[in-house]
Point group: C2
Chain length 236, copies 2
């Protein structure tokens, strides 16, 4: 593990263990440098990690402060692919409805950047949060990248499998979302009535090398869909 990652984790634990609140001040750079016995750049790099995670904010000339969310019970929209990591807050389970190998349609081929009719895994799952239906998800997974998949893996975390069993590194994702109403089939799976609102999200996930490996369409149960996003002001 890299120095700055380790330091980031330790500072995060420090915040957690001491139950620091929004606006609480962390030790100054100088102190952190001597405490961890590393150079200034390394501390800065560690703090950058925490800033990206929305855990701290830095004010030039003033200090380093804790940033905390004011509300609980919301799902982080930027980290909601694997879910596993949110297990502390939520109990999320899945039921696999269907798992097949299919030929890529033009829509799937386009989003996965592969040839028409290439083989993809098609996985249809219902996901539950604390026992309630959370979403109906259809995933198309490039078989050229993930050569094997079964129901057991899909019931657990496909992302963990890709990371741990296959040793692939997940890099980034694009998500497109809009609001719509449930059709009959979606409503049936979510145990809701058709015509009710839903959040519809399409995701494309990429490996660190830029290859897209997973295209998914997700219909969220509006009753369970509370999300949050923390933005850092690189645009503001």
């Amino acid at each position: 593990m890299l120095k700055y990652q380790k330091i980031a984790i330790e500072i995060e634990e420090y915040i957690e263990n001491n139950q620091l609140q929004q606006g609480n001040k962390l030790p100054v750079l100088e102190t952190l440098m001597t405490q961890f016995d590393v150079s200034k750049s390394t501390i800065i790099k560690a703090l950058e990690v925490l800033e990206k995670k929305g855990l701290i904010f830095q004010v030039r000339g003033s200090g380093i402060f804790v940033r905390r969310l004011r509300r609980k019970g919301y799902i982080n929209l930027l980290t909601n692919q694997g879910f596993k990591k949110d297990l502390d807050d939520f109990s999320i389970t899945s039921k696999v409805v269907e798992l097949d190998v299919k030929k890529a349609s033009s829509e799937v081929a386009h989003n996965l950047n592969i040839e028409l009719n290439s083989e993809v895994y098609y996985v249809k799952r219902i996901r539950y949060i604390n026992g309630q239906t959370l979403c109906l998800e259809e995933s198309y997974i490039d078989k050229a990248i993930i050569p094997y998949l079964n129901k057991e893996i899909a019931t657990e975390s496909i992302f963990n499998y890709i990371r741990e069993a296959l040793g692939l590194k997940i890099g980034f994702s694009d998500s497109y979302l809009y609001v719509d109403v449930l059709n009959q089939e979606e409503a049936k799976f979510l145990n809701l009535k058709s015509g009710l609102p839903k959040l519809y999200v399409e995701n494309i996930f990429y490996l660190t090398n830029g290859q897209s490996f997973n295209f998914s369409k997700v219909n969220y149960n509006y009753e369970q869909s509370q999300f949050f996003i923390q933005a850092n002001g690189y645009y503001l």
Copy 2:
């Protein structure tokens, strides 16, 4: 302007001017260093900016590549506060329905982290995208931080006013969102029927020093609400 900011802008322009596509390779670090006549760290810092903006991705041992969105017509959820910057893609206008000074309710006081009954500006606006109703927005703005506001400013960009006229720096934001149905009043303002779905978002905006200055509640017209989010894999 800082060196790394300037370099980031130049590289962005280079990508734009040459119409580079997803996966196209940029010059290697060594080349960029000599081309801009700066140290390695400065180039890395510039590339980091572009990576956060979702414009490039870097692959160790391989190169620096262009990252492009596959779809047009979606609003970036992480940058949708000012709107002004999206003017290239969308024509967004506002109509101010109401502008008052009010006493902060407990909800507003809590979200703005101020005393109950402190004075806040209350701004109710309808926003239009390409002539269609986009959203109905209610903002509560801390009068202790923004001492003056009028209809003209609110019709244009409140954020630009805060930045440019008041010289304040906007730092970060928290957004909470969920899907719901329109009530009669909201429907009226959005020119839709009650009972139709909506995306409901609450935002809290902070200055760089961590002070929250704006709490807003936004109801989006589902017909015009197409959003995208690019995630970088700091969690994946």
